[in-house]
């Protein structure tokens, strides 16, 4: 199982939207604002779908399954990109790891 050791985020990590963020669905794009960082973040396509999926806490593995089911993407690349995105969003506080960090 691949994981990102530097951020502690792996496939078994359960993640959710951060508490100090707000978001708006603009149709083709979701715009996020971190209240502490005061930074904006735009998500389109698969990224926006991932954001929608974590309206409820889910493991990264569950999110990966959703994306592979709905999009025609290479599984290995999808996993790498997903972990990288989650790591980035976690670092900015837009996403938080709730429990089950990479066992």
């Amino acid at each position: 199982m691949r994981s990102n050791r530097s951020s502690g985020v792996g496939l078994l990590s359960r993640i959710a939207r951060g508490k100090r963020q707000v978001s708006a669905d603009l149709g083709k794009e979701v715009v996020l604002l971190g209240l502490d960082s005061e930074e904006y973040y735009g998500l389109e396509g698969v990224g926006a779908r991932i954001w929608e999926a974590i309206a409820e806490p889910r493991t990264v593995e569950e999110i990966l399954a959703i994306v592979l089911d709905e999009y025609d993407v290479d599984p290995g690349r999808c996993e790498r990109d997903l972990l990288a995105l989650v790591q980035e969003l976690t670092a900015t506080g837009l996403v938080q790891v709730t429990d089950g960090a990479d066992a």
Binding site: V22, A24, D25, L26, G27, V31, L33, L35, G42
Partner: protein, 333 residues
Amino acid sequence: MGDDGRGDHLREYTLYGLRVRSEVPLPASICQRFSPWDDHDIELRWGERTTLPDRPPSGRVVAELVPGHGRGYVLVDAGTGYALRFHGTCQFWIARDLRSVWVHLPPEVAPDLAALLFVGNVLACILTLAGEYVLHASAVEVGNVALAFVGGSGMGKSTLAALLCASGARLIADDLLRLQPQGRRFLCYPGAGEIRLRQQAAELARGLPALASETTADGRVGVKLDHPGSRPALGAIVIPRPSRQCHAVRLERLTCSSALLLLMTHRRVQGLRQVEHVQAQFQQFAHVTASVPVFEAEIPWGPPFSPAIAEELLQGVGLVVHQTETDAIRSRG
């Protein structure tokens, strides 16, 4: 009557769709003697004159702004109500139900400054706390449609509104615009009926169909103008970028996300701390930008200000007014 208007009778004003009953004389052009049987939305009263303590009001900070220049403010949720402190100036106490407000002035502060703060920052805070749609904007009515100029302090909102009014438009609001969502439309509530111009734009006051003009408590030229009685629908938003280098108006229509970010950058109530209020604003602005075209405009800046700016803006945003309609607007003023 004392020098601060204490002892005055209560007067009733209509501001941003709110009926305000006030013992503080307000710089608002729609003013009637108070009828005691009338209902009202907000009542403003003088509180005791008091020296403001150095320590901030105690409670949960809702919003705080400490600018590099100027004194800033803090809005605190104190449980039974809200304390809105303008550092070094005065403090407003707002009841929990947002319907009663008291202003506490230190002895050395001029009362008309409190009135100016009330019709601007205080009402903006109250409307925001109430979850209403509020833009940091000046707006005019052109041919039954509203054009709003959104921006921070010094970005030219009032100047552009004055330029449009000099060309036949009617002032809706200056520096604060309350919107009422109605499906995919947004109706614009009329404000105080006064536009406040900085000294460098004061020349524009001569071209306005003014009912009266005076120097305001913050050193600007306040020009009272006729009001539209209705609530015109918002047709477009322009975010100005004044420029002394360009020679003609250049407009660019923004994507929804770019427009959303700029509306958030230029919020009327800056420094909101609580997630629920920021989330509400974010959703409101997303709603607006999904329905109303938002433009960024580079605008040749003065003084002197070219009268061609008004027409170029209207054409650029697609609010072209035919000559006969312009004449009708002019004759109305």
